[in-house]
């Protein structure tokens, strides 16, 4: 078993001549004597790389190292924050002097460092993906994707493929002196093609990844990505203009779960609800979705892109039920919002890096399976669209309005799939749309591991998922009136 404390110590402290007694001084500076309601240090080191193929040539590769430490003190609902990429003791003390500006005078109480055994959970291994393959093998995977795509269909004119990996080590120093390490690998591969037929060009893409090493990208896996990207692009060659208006919409399993991420996920983050700015504020215990809907946020799934052993405040991640049979059960919390709302933390504190403040964020958010056969769901449609693949989405959590953009969808009439339609944005109001979910399939699937969520300028990796589901009425933003 690899010792995460050892890795954190070797990566984050030893190279910068930092010692536990030095760190103890800094945390006591901002959290000792009950000076703050919360305080932490977040040491982080990330090594990452990416390789890109374009026009049958792996013409770019890059390697990057980022490291630093963020210091934070919280008093009441006030936060002071500073960070530095220089991890010397002098820089730490300079940062703590800035953060100390808001702390109060307290009793004489010393914070003692102690190693917290967070490693009870281990949803991914502390492996370094970058070391898991030679450069030539990584390039080989991209060349394989290019060759397979061009061999698959002569209409393929352009292939772009990329592979990236990162190896991240964090050490969180909690206000009680608890030291919590985590070692977080991540890999991702994307394949995107342009096909051309009779002068018309369309695109399709696919990919996947997770918290593991590059060995997940077997030849078969690469072939799956390629086949999916080419299939997706060729479908779009046949697509007709999408309809405009409000109609029945059936969403396929997996990635279309971005619906939940936008329609309810963001609106259930603790910060918005503490401030009363979310359309879901103050509605715990209320029916906010149809009784068929049970939605969870689960940071504890093995190897998933949104999974974490501990969140960025060092609390274990959990499987949190957000909505159960349509009833709102709880919000996602970090320490600040949980304390001010007088509820337990949920392991949802996340930050893009040491240079950003943590806030409540989603991990892997999905709806549990229902009873319906997916084919029956499509067959039940009178007039609408069946959308199976999406780009991104966005939400205004205050009004509840959200959008997400389909890039593979089909026109359905009287239960029959007629033809593919061109990309269109779908728009609705979160709580209203959730009430209109009338059928839920038995085919729950999670996405392939490529999701990125943005909030307040911070990006974090997330997962989404859902079974096939039917919304009785949703507005489809096509051009065909």
């Amino acid at each position: 078993m690899i010792d995460k404390f050892q890795i954190a110590n070797d990566t984050l402290l030893v190279p910068y001549d930092l010692t536990e007694s030095g760190i103890s001084k800094v945390i006591n500076d901002i959290a000792g004597n009950d000076a703050a309601d919360y305080a932490d240090l977040y040491f982080q080191y990330v090594r990452s790389e990416s390789w890109q193929l374009d026009q049958s040539c792996v013409k770019s590769g890059s390697f990057s190292i980022d490291k630093g430490v963020g210091l934070r003190a919280v008093v009441g609902d006030k936060t002071a924050f500073a960070y530095c990429d220089d991890m010397s003791m002098g820089a730490l003390l300079d940062a703590s002097s800035k953060v100390k500006s808001i702390v109060r005078q307290g009793q004489n109480k010393v914070v003692k460092l102690q190693r917290c055994d967070s490693s009870g959970s281990s949803f991914y291994q502390p492996v370094d993906p970058i070391q898991s393959l030679e450069s030539s093998q990584k390039i080989g995977l991209l060349n394989l994707a290019d060759q397979l795509a061009r061999a698959k269909d002569s209409r393929v004119k352009e292939v772009t493929a990329s592979i990236s990996g990162s190896y991240e080590t964090v050490l969180i120093v909690r206000p009680d002196g608890g030291l919590v390490p985590d070692v977080r690998p991540m890999v991702r591969m994307n394949v995107s093609v342009i096909v051309e037929q009779n002068g018309r060009r369309e695109t399709g893409s696919s990919g996947g990844g997770g918290r593991t090493n590059y060995l997940m990208f077997t030849s078969d896996k690469v072939a799956d990505y390629v086949n999916e990207a080419v299939r997706h692009a060729c479908i779009n060659l046949e697509a007709e203009d999408a309809p405009a208006g409000t109609m029945e919409v059936v969403l396929g399993p997996g990635w279309p779960g971005v619906l939940l991420h936008e329609a309810v996920g963001h609106g259930l983050e603790g910060d918005f609800n503490r401030k009363g700015t979310s359309t879901f504020s103050g509605r715990i215990g209320e029916q906010v979705a149809s009784g068929l809907c049970t939605v969870v946020d689960n940071g504890t799934m093995d190897g998933r892109r949104g999974s974490l052993n501990v969140d960025d405040e060092g609390n274990p991640t959990q499987k949190n039920i957000l909505i159960e049979n349509g009833v709102l059960k709880g919000y996602m919390q970090d320490s600040l919002n949980a304390r001010l709302m007088n509820v337990p933390v949920t392991g949802n504190a996340r930050r893009e890096s040491f240079a950003y403040l943590p806030m409540p964020r989603m991990t892997n958010t999905y709806m549990l399976a229902g009873d319906s056969d997916p084919e029956e769901i499509v067959a039940s449609m009178k007039d609408g669209i069946y959308a199976v693949n999406f780009g991104g989405g966005q939400v205004d959590i205050t009004s509840g309005k959200f959008v997400f953009s389909a890039n593979e969808a089909y026109r359905v009439e009287n239960g029959k799939i007629l033809h593919p339609v061109r990309g269109a944005t779908l728009i609705g109001n979160g709580p209203e749309v959730m009430q209109k979910i009338s059928m839920v399939g038995n085919d729950l699937a999670l996405d392939a591991g490529v999701g990125i969520c943005g909030k307040d300028g911070q990006s974090v990796p997330v997962g989404v998922g859902q079974p096939t589901l039917k919304v009785e009425a949703l507005t489809v933003g096509g051009v065909q009136v």
Binding site: Q55, I65, S135, T277, S399, K401, V403, N407, I427, V481
Partner: protein, 447 residues
């Protein structure tokens, strides 16, 4: 405690650049280039009349590329120690030994390097204490909350001040650097009426703090925009004339500029591939770039490859496309010349008529005035456009009621060609200055 920034370690950055370039050549690279940045600042957030966050920022970054006979490797790090930078150079060299050969790769041609670097008027030292920033943020939010009793909640106001230094150097012997400051504030508040809640925001951000709008006007505008949304409803699905308000008009021009980027063109991945010399807009539309406009948001004497920027360049003249957006790599792929746009366009100005927005509403008669857009339903390959929108329904040139939860959709090529008129109401901020745009028609999906 103030947010004074000193010289941001200028000499260190210049020394690091020199060391890195000579290390690359020592390791056998034919060419090498390096970008370094250093910035510092603070931001203060308040909410409901109280301090919420104080953030102190200090960032450094270095990114570099090395070329070995038209093969490239890149690396970056935030550690500016000599040993870390030398390791980054070595890592880039290792990568370059694995990547493929592409004749278009390499530095921009030596004769294109900027040789006339002058002050562009972007650097304004503004030493404000955290207490002063707090005071200002509080009055910005207070102006919003006190504007109307229906402003019942707030996501807060934020005040920030940053100063940065950018350095670019390459093995042609080019080395350029410049400082810039960004100062500004924003407010985001919530209007409440019964069960209905709407949030909106406003901001002012400038290189020169003397050009900022007043704190009160920013707060009041945030409040007005949120209040205007109360009573929003949907409109019926159909095709209508549409005005993109000046606050969102720049996004449409931004999509046009994205579609003429070399990175898409050489792969024929844009719906505007091979359209040079063609009429894309009505004759009255002109779009120019002014990279050396003194004091403007994105001015610079050289682009991200050291290439000398022009005073002014036509992109659209009398509606005709007369230039792409190219760096040296994409220019070579297209057998053209770099347009000094590595890193993007700088200070885009869109021509306009003499009408005010009110007159433009009169011109439209009945239709949809868009003031907010969400979502990313835009394909650069096909030009398909479909986004969530809110705004106002207009009849007889007068705003009737606020509209929400609809989409606007069309084909970008038709939308550009369908621009009827542009009002003289540009907000004069950001990289793209453009007044409100009247389009002949778009599909609205609603009830």
């Amino acid at each position: 405690m103030s947010v004074s920034s000193g010289d941001l370690d200028r000499q260190l950055l210049l020394d690091v650049a020199k060391v890195a370039l000579s290390k690359a050549i020592e390791l056998g690279a034919d060419q090498a280039e390096i970008s370094l940045s250093s910035s510092t600042g603070a931001s203060v957030g308040v909410r409901m009349g109280e301090l919420e966050t104080i953030e102190h920022n200090r960032d450094k970054n270095v990114s570099l590329s090395v070329y070995f006979g038209h093969k490239v490797g890149s690396a970056s790090t935030c550690d500016l120690s000599i040993s870390a930078v030398q390791e980054a150079v070595a890592a880039a060299c290792t990568i370059a030994s694995s990547t493929g050969y592409d004749e278009a790769l390499g530095l921009a041609d030596a004769e294109l390097m900027a040789n006339d670097i002058s002050d562009m008027g972007l650097d304004f030292q503004w030493d404000r204490s955290v207490d002063e920033m707090l005071e200002a943020a509080l009055s910005c939010e207070a102006a919003a909350i006190s504007f109307d009793s229906r402003i019942k909640n707030s996501e807060g106001a934020n005040y920030s001040s940053h100063r940065g230094l950018e350095v670019y150097a390459n093995s042609h012997g080019f080395c350029g650097d410049y400082y810039s400051t960004t100062n500004g504030y924003s407010a985001s508040v919530i209007a409440v009426d019964g069960d209905e809640m709407h949030r909106d925001y406003w901001y002012s951000s400038e290189r020169n703090p003397a050009n900022l709008d007043s704190l009160e006007s920013v707060g009041e505008m945030a409040a007005k925009r949120a209040l205007q949304k109360l009573g929003s409803r949907r409109i019926s699905t159909g095709e209508y004339p549409v005005i993109f308000d000046a606050s969102v008009a720049g996004s449409l021009i931004g999509h046009f500029l994205s579609a003429i980027r070399g990175g898409l063109l050489y792969k024929k991945a844009s719906f505007l591939t091979d359209k040079l010399g063609e009429q894309l807009f009505s004759e009255h539309v002109n779009i120019i770039e002014k990279p050396r406009l003194f004091g403007a948001a994105n001015s610079a004497c050289f682009d991200d490859e050291g290439v000398r920027t022009p005073e002014q360049r036509d992109i659209i003249k009398n509606g005709v496309l007369c230039g792409y957006i190219l760096g040296s790599y994409t220019a070579r792929k297209l057998d053209m010349k770099s347009t000094a746009n590595s890193g993007g366009v700088r200070n885009v100005r869109v021509s306009h008529g003499s009408k005010s927005r009110e007159q433009l509403l009169g011109e439209m008669g009945a239709g949809f005035l868009v003031t907010d857009l969400i979502g990313s339903g835009i394909s650069m390959l096909t030009g398909d456009y479909s986004r969530g929108a809110s705004g106002f329904w207009v009849e007889n040139g007068e705003i009737q009621f606020p509209v929400e939860e609809v989409t606007v959709a069309g084909k970008l090529a038709d939308m550009f060609n369908g621009i009827q008129e542009i009002a003289a109401d540009s907000l004069g901020r950001g990289n793209i200055h453009c007044g409100s745009i009247l389009l002949d028609k778009l599909t609205i999906a609603g009830d």
